[in-house]
Each structure stands twice: as structure tokens, then as C-alpha cells.
């Protein structure tokens, strides 16, 4: 076998109170795709950041191409040929797409940045990953998925020896994932070593040659993909077997719903989503399915009042509700868990506890403080219910692993006890075990009478948790599917159907 490009030996990383990595060995060979697997908080991102010089290990060494390196920061790692897409999509929303791709290596003429050449180069790179956006548009005007693709375009723009992808596909649709994998394969065949992190097992088995599994900051083992079956992999990751999913398949009360809670009549907003009708009943989970850019998030934002509708109206409990903004929605018992957890969700500089209490307090109004004891109990309850790790109420929200931040965001809304919970990509970046837990939780909430609007790019998930699935295409509602044995294939068919077809009602 050839020599590894990256050879990490016995590395340990510590944060105050947390041993994030303990004596981890990791090897990455040229011309392979190596998946790094593990639960939320297992230490995957930390290992990557230790490699690229963001975190300083307290023990162990990193060899790059046989030589010992200790990078002082990402800039040095990049210069040494390690190109990275970080989990938190590290881009600057205030700059243009072209700048985000080429920042730090802009084409120059006589020392000055050549704007035209830069845009041309960016357009070329975007075309390479099959993304059609205007390089001059500001990044802030694009949804998370596009930003993730831009980050990928940036990473593949340089001739790197090592390409690190930390959950690059968490918001992408099947088409974009396929496009990404095509590029990854080309790079791999050119001899680039690719480190890939994902919670989607299908993707891992599709692309990876080998995998290393981490659990609680320690290496469980290294296998070739062919050696390790799915069940064994999940077992290695969780340290236990997975049984929750099977339970969910047999939800007895699926399809049984109560009184209409929210009715949208011809609600619409120009450029965002065509006018639609939608009824959500108490105790019902309604799924929204559609491709990226089909208007999933836009529809949800209208219901929450985050954007103003320019046609139609919303009735809650049969009474018209004036949705002047999110406040009005919250007062009516509508909660919206955003897909953009960094921008709209958590307060990174506050503790887990404070983040939860903030939401609780906002729901109660400022005049009625939450008694300390009750708050402690509630915080403990939700930490346990969602299995947030570390289960330390005083940990800073910004220091949680990506998946645990997502769980905290969900907890933040649950404490307000909403009547309608809108979940936009609630399982994004969440590991298999926790995903099943969250799906189960949604089912339980519905059984308790809460209405849930569930949005996800993962169709299997939407179909599994929902009583009814609303299908979107090209920013309009094209169909509503319901029935006990609703299948993924029905939905795929509708999503992929030729545009222009009339809305239809299907019951199976």
C-alpha cells in the first residue's frame, strides 16, 4: 500500500470540561474517499479542525506527506494543500458569490483584483458543479443549500492534495449530491485524498472506500466499506442497536386527525410561492415535499408571518388571523424552527439553559418570570427528551456539535408548547439514532394533539412521519397525498412530473 498523505497519531483535543478527542489515530490515503462516521458530538468536526489548525491538540502529532506539521491556522493548512468545507458553511453572506468562491486567491492584474476575470472564473467553477447562480449576486440572497454548494465550489477550486468535506450534503437534494459525487470521483481518480463526513448512510456507502468510526472522542475502528455492513456500522457508531425506527412504521393513529387548526386560503406571495390552499388539523403531521427551490421554506415562512403574503388569508380556529409578523404567529401558537440555525435560531454566546429559558420567557411575556426551579426542571426534561450532549445546561450553545445545536433549536420551540410547530429541516446534520428519536418525538407530539408541518429534503423521512404530504414544484402546490400506505415512489413521481400539470388530489 502507498504511504498515507495524512497520518494522525494519537491526537487528543480538550475543551474546558470536555475531552473531545482522545488518542485518535486516523489515516487518509491518496486516491481514496474515507468516511468519518460517528454520532452527534462524537468528535468528527473536532478532528477535522485539529487537522486544519483551528484547534490545537494537547497530545499527538499530525503528519502530512510524511512530514510533521502543526498548523497555526486554516490559512497554513490551505497553503499546504488541505482544502476544507466546514460543517458550519464558513462563508461571508455580505459578499458576492464570486468573491466567496475566490476570496484570498482572486485573479489580479498589475496587483489589482481583476473583477471581470474573477466573475468569469467563478462562473466556470459554478458550472463545474452544475450550479446556475449569478456570480455577482450577494450570498445573503441565497438559501442554505446554495451556500453549501458555493462552499463546495470554493473548496474544489484549488488543486489540493486533501479535500475535507464535513457534512457537505446536509441540505442538498439528490441531484446535487449526485453532481458532487461525480466531482469527488474525478478528484479521487486524480489522486486526491477525500475525507467525507455525512449522516446519510446511503451516501457513505455509495462514495466511500473506507471508513473510520468515532465514538465519544475515541476511535472504534477502521474498515473498508465492503467489510462493514450497515447494521454493524450503526452499532459501531451508537454502541447499541437501533430499534426506534421500526416502532415508528407502525404508528397506530396515523391518518387520524382532529379539528382543523389552521386553514390557509389562497395564500401566496409573488416570486415566492403561488397562491395555495392548505388545512392543518390538530394532531396531524403534514409533510412538505419538493426539490430545492420548489418553495418549501417560502410556504412555511408565509404561515409564520416571517414574510408577508400578498394574497389570501389565514384562519386559526376558524377566526381570521392577521399575520403582521412572527410575534402574531407566536401568540396564535405557531412556532417555526428555521433551517438557518446560525442566522435565525440560537444565541451562540448564551448557555443551553439560557437559550431554552429565553424562548420560554418570550412565550410567557416579560411580566411573568419563570420560577428558577421550574426552569431547571424543564431544561433537564428537554435535555433528556432530545438527548442533547453534553447534557450540561451551562455549556455555551455555540460550542455544541452541529447536530446537538439542531436538537437544542428544536427544544427551544418545544418549551413554548406551540399548537402548530413548523419544522424546517429539523433533522439536518443529525445522526441516525437521533434522527429516529426526533421522528418519534414528532409522532408523540402529534398524538398529544399538536399539529406539525414537517419539511425535509429527505423524502423517506417526510413520508414516514407524515399523515399527509403536500407536494411542491416550481413554487406551487401541485398535489396532496394522504392515506395509510403512502409511498415514496408516489411522491417522487409527482415531484419529477412535467411542469404545467394541474393541481390534483390523490388518495390512495
Amino acid at each position: 500500500m502507498t504511504e498515507p498523505v495524512v497520518d494522525i497519531r494519537g491526537i487528543s483535543v480538550e475543551f474546558p470540561g470536555v475531552k473531545a478527542l482522545q488518542e485518535v489515530d486516523f489515516r487518509l490515503f491518496p486516491g481514496e474517499v474515507h468516511a468519518l462516521m460517528g454520532e452527534n458530538g462524537a468528535g468528527k468536526s473536532t478532528l477535522i479542525k485539529a487537522l486544519t489548525g483551528v484547534h490545537r491538540p494537547v497530545a499527538g502529532e499530525v503528519l502530512l506527506g510524511g512530514e510533521r506539521v502543526a498548523f497555526a491556522g486554516p490559512a497554513q493548512a490551505q497553503d499546504a494543500g488541505i482544502s476544507t468545507v466546514y460543517q458550519e458553511v464558513a462563508l461571508c453572506a455580505n459578499l458576492t458569490v464570486a468573491e466567496n468562491i475566490l476570496l484570498g486567491r482572486e485573479p489580479r492584474r498589475f496587483g489589482a483584483i481583476n473583477g471581470r476575470a474573477m466573475r468569469a472564473r467563478a462562473a466556470e467553477l459554478l458550472a463545474r458543479i452544475g450550479l446556475r447562480v449569478d456570480p455577482r449576486s450577494t450570498l445573503a440572497s441565497h438559501p442554505i443549500a446554495i451556500r453549501q454548494l458555493v462552499a463546495i465550489a470554493r473548496a474544489v477550486a484549488i488543486d489540493a492534495r486533501v479535500l475535507v468535506l464535513d457534512e457537505p450534503t446536509s441540505s442538498l437534494d439528490a441531484d446535487e449530491v449526485a453532481e458532487l459525487f461525480r466531482i469527488v470521483r474525478v478528484l479521487r481518480d486524480e489522486g486526491v485524498a477525500v475525507l467525507f463526513v455525512s449522516h446519510f448512510l446511503d451516501q457513505v456507502y455509495e462514495i466511500a472506500d473506507r471508513m473510520t468510526v468515532l465514538r465519544n472522542g475515541r476511535v472504534v475502528g477502521e474498515w473498508t466499506t465492503a467489510e462493514l455492513g450497515r447494521l454493524e456500522l450503526v452499532q459501531a457508531m451508537l454502541g447499541r442497536e437501533l430499534g426506534v425506527l421500526d416502532e415508528l412504521e407502525h404508528r397506530p393513529d396515523k391518518g387520524r386527525a382532529g379539528e382543523p387548526l389552521l386553514v390557509a386560503e389562497q395564500l401566496g406571495r409573488k416570486g415566492a410561492i403561488a397562491p395555495f390552499d392548505l388545512t392543518i388539523r390538530r394532531g396531524e403531521v403534514v409533510g412538505l415535499a419538493g426539490l430545492l427551490g420548489s418553495g418549501r421554506t417560502e410556504l412555511a415562512r408565509l404561515l409564520y408571518g416571517a414574510d408577508k403574503a400578498d394574497t389570501g388569508r389565514v384562519l386559526v380556529d376558524g377566526e381570521p388571523l392577521k399575520l403582521r409578523g412572527p410575534r402574531a404567529a407566536i401568540e396564535a401558537g405557531i412556532a417555526f424552527s428555521s433551517e438557518d440555525r446560525k442566522g435565525e435560531g440560537l444565541v451562540a454566546d448564551l448557555s443551553v439553559r439560557d437559550n431554552l429559558i429565553l424562548a420560554m420567557q418570550a412565550a410567557r411575556g416579560w411580566a411573568r418570570p419563570v420560577p428558577r426551579k421550574q426552569a431547571d426542571e424543564l431544561v433537564a426534561k428537554y435535555l433528556k427528551m432530545l438527548d442533547i450532549r453534553p447534557a450540561d445546561p451551562d455549556a455555551l450553545a455555540g460550542n455544541l456539535s452541529g447536530g446537538n445545536q439542531q436538537k437544542l433549536l428544536l427544544a427551544r420551540w418545544l418549551v413554548t408548547r406551540p399548537r402548530l410547530l413548523v419544522l424546517d429541516e429539523p433533522t439536518r446534520g443529525i445522526d441516525v439514532g437521533a434522527k429516529a428519536q426526533i421522528q418519534k418525538l414528532v409522532a408523540e407530539l402529534a398524538a398529544d394533539g399538536m399539529a406539525v408541518l414537517f419539511i425535509s429534503a429527505e423524502l423517506e423521512e417526510v413520508v414516514r412521519v407524515s399523515d399527509r404530504v403536500v407536494v411542491l414544484r416550481d413554487r406551487r402546490v401541485v398535489a396532496e397525498l394522504s392515506g395509510v400506505d403512502l409511498g415514496v415512489d408516489d411522491v417522487v413521481e409527482l415531484i419529477a412530473a412535467t411542469p404545467g400539470a394541474e393541481p390534483e388530489k390523490v388518495a390512495s
Binding site: 483551528v54 490559512a75 490551505q78 461571508c92 455580505n94 447562480v133 449569478d134 450577494t138 440572497s141 427551490g293
Partner: protein, 321 residues
Amino acid sequence: MTALTARAPSRFLPVIATFVVFVATFGVGSLRYEGFATGQVVANLFIDNAFLIVLAVGMTFVILTGGIDLSVGSVVALSTMIAAAALRAGWPAWLVVPAVLATGSALGLLMGVVIHRFQVQPFIVTLAGMFLARGLCFVISVESVSIKDPTFRALATGTLELPGGVTITHTVVIALVAVAVAAYVLHLTRFGRTVYAVGGSESSARLMGLRTGRVKVGVYVISGFCSALAGLLFSLYMLSGYGLHAVGMELDAIAAVVVGGSLLSGGVGFVVGSVAGVLVLGTIQTLISFQGTLSSWWTKIVIGVLLLAFIVLQRLIVRRS
């Protein structure tokens, strides 16, 4: 996949708004007062505010990274003081100018390093710098020191004739050169683009492999240099050095930058916007002096109202996009 088009103009909206306000206030003046709408009044705006323009340029760099520099007014005073004292001691002008510029830059460097290395709030560090610089003035002299150096006097009184009989001073030329250089650096160099990136998201900029440390320290050096340059221009304007010169001028500079459309949180703004901001503030002052009966406090009141209006405008733009 969706092809999304650019909505670029919203980025320029605050700057455009500032220019509109400038033209509007100027229009009000020219309607109400005879002799307001002349080329010379416009030229005087630049002459009387050359130092503030330079100061606002430096402040723009700092604010773009999301920082703030409260020391600039004091550094202006210190620079006038050093210049006046050194000239009085018989230093030649060609030595005094680089010495003053070096002092200002060094102070900026010191503050930048403290801010970056020890991760202290820029507000606190530059507040300390403000007291330090002001204090140093009085170490040199508690009195006002007048400048009698012939080179300085010649520069101060010399004028340039523009077509149309409008005259400007050399200080205006220097200020405009500073603006042009700053615009070049901000938009056409990697350093400048990194300034915007740091203001947009410092952690992202770092993960993108950009030299954020260099930029974070660099903007304070630039601001220190600009303060020293502004101090030199101010000493030409006043022909004296004094520890009580330019009291509160840092606030004028910040106001000009904000009125010019830059966000205090960083990442958004243009140098030309800051220049327009200075012009707006200057026009208001001119208007009030033309009025004659109004107290100069009205300047402050109008500036206060304008500042609020602009911050509200920016909020609206940010919220819509």
C-alpha cells in the same frame, strides 16, 4: 435548479440615499439663500472638512471590520501638538511630516495588536488610546503652540485655481488622494476584500484561510495613519498645535461614516459614502451659518436626527433583503 438573479442595487441604496440627502439639503440652501449654490460654497465644504474626510476614511476601514476607533480625535490633537512643537524646536518640515505619520501609525499598531492578541473589545482599547493620546498632548505643552514654519504657512495659505474661478487648498487635494487610495485598497486589493470578509463574519473569514489577523491589526494602523494625516491637515487649518483641538471629533467621524451608509456591525459600506456623509454634515453646518440667527447647537440636533433616520433606513433595507 433555480437560477437566481442579483439584487445588487440594495447594497448601494444607503449611499445613494446619502447623496440624495446631500443634494436635498444643498437644494434647500440654494433656494433660501442668495449665493449658496456657487462652486465656491461647494469647494469650501471640502476645504473646511478636509481633515474630517481623511478621518472618516480611516474610520471606514475600522467600522467595516466591525470595530470602532474612539482615539482618532485625540490622535488628531496629538499630531497637531507634535507638529507644532517639533517645528518650534527647529525641525524641518520634511522631517516633521513623516514623524507625525509614523507616530499615529504606531499608536494604531499598538491598539490593533492589543485588540487582536488579547481579544479585547475595540471600544475599550481605543477608549484607552483616546485618553493616552490626549494626555500626551499636555505632556508636550499645556498651552496652544502656534506654527510659524514657512513651509507649513505656505502650504496652508496656498490655493489652487480651478476652472470657473473656484479656489481650493492643497489640503483638499490631499484628502481626495486619500479617498482615492482608500477606495482602491478596499475594492481592488486582497487586503481590502478581507476587510469586508472580516466584517461579514470573522470566524468564516478565518476558516476560509484568509489572513484575518493582519487585517484586524492593519485597519487600526490605517486609522492611526489617517488620524495623523488629518492632524497635519488640521494643523494647517488652525496653524497651531493644541491639546484641546478636535475634542469630540471621533464622534463626527463615526457619524459621517454611519450617515454614509456603513453598518456599525461591519461588512457593509463604502468610502465614497463616508465622504458623502462628511459633505452632508458640512452642508448642514454651512446652512446654519448662512441662517446666522440659529445657534450652532442646531447642527448637532440635525445631525442627531439624521443619524437616527439613517439607522432606521438601514434596518429597513436589511430587513427587506
